[in-house]
């Protein structure tokens, strides 16, 4: 059973299009994340949700809109795609140990987005 699964794994699209990436975790975790990994492999937090509520929203263009219908799902919708959005997007989840100390992150396999 896959703990954190995200779809699609690959996405190739034209500039200006709108696309979504879906993520589901079956670990019973309270917190889910979206990270972006650029071509230099730098992994940067985008959003963090705890029990369907947005906690962290880093400096991300508002073309990116996360949505959490329940605590097991966190989807990412991107409007008006730009060339610079090309990256690998990782969903992750964790069970927070205690306030201010993040537990182990469990990552999905990533969704490689290529904008042409």
């Amino acid at each position: 059973d896959t703990a954190v699964s995200q779809t699609p794994k690959y996405l190739v699209t034209q500039m200006g299009n709108d696309k979504s990436i879906k993520c589901e975790q079956n670990l019973g975790h309270d917190t889910m994340y979206w990270y972006k990994q650029d071509s230099k492999k730098f992994l940067k937090i985008m959003f963090s949700y705890n029990n369907k509520e947005l906690i962290i929203n880093e400096t991300v263009p508002n073309r990116f809109s996360p949505k959490s219908p329940d605590k097991a799902h966190l989807n990412l919708h991107i409007n008006s795609l730009e060339l610079g959005d090309s990256a690998v997007y990782f969903c992750a989840s964790s069970q927070e140990r205690h306030r201010g100390n993040t537990g182990e992150l469990f990552f999905g396999e990533g969704s490689r987005l290529t904008v042409l």
Binding site: F42, L43, K44, G100, N101, L105
Partner: protein, 110 residues
């Protein structure tokens, strides 16, 4: 947000060699996690260190947390091609988030 510096950025070695990679910060870590990311996969946790001076071993991997909790190292003994991957350190920088370093890309050739 704390800045994590990892070195070296790239490392290419032959099977059987030993190596050490480093993770440093100007600030004190509350705790530090090490992850390995293989090509086409998401990062996977290797270890968490919490106490200054702590040493943890995972088979051929030895993790050390500096006494002042501002640095950490990962030493691999007798590297194997299966050790190839991106090694990332990450720090819990506040409520419900991890900040990652830029990683060390390790290539172990047969």
């Amino acid at each position: 947000t704390q800045l994590l510096e990892q070195s070296p950025q790239f490392l290419s070695i032959q099977e059987g060699e030993n190596l050490t990679v480093y993770c440093n910060s100007s600030s004190v870590f509350s705790s530090l996690q090490w992850y390995r990311q293989e090509p086409g996969e998401g990062p996977v946790l290797l270890v968490t260190v919490v106490t200054g001076g702590e040493v943890k071993k995972l088979k051929r991997l030895t993790f050390q947390f500096g006494d002042a909790r501002k640095d950490s190292s990962l030493h691999i003994t007798a590297a194997q091609p299966g050790d190839t991957g991106l090694y990332l350190c990450a720090e819990s920088s506040g409520y419900s988030t991890l900040t990652f370093g830029k990683g060390t890309m390790l290539l172990v050739s047969p």
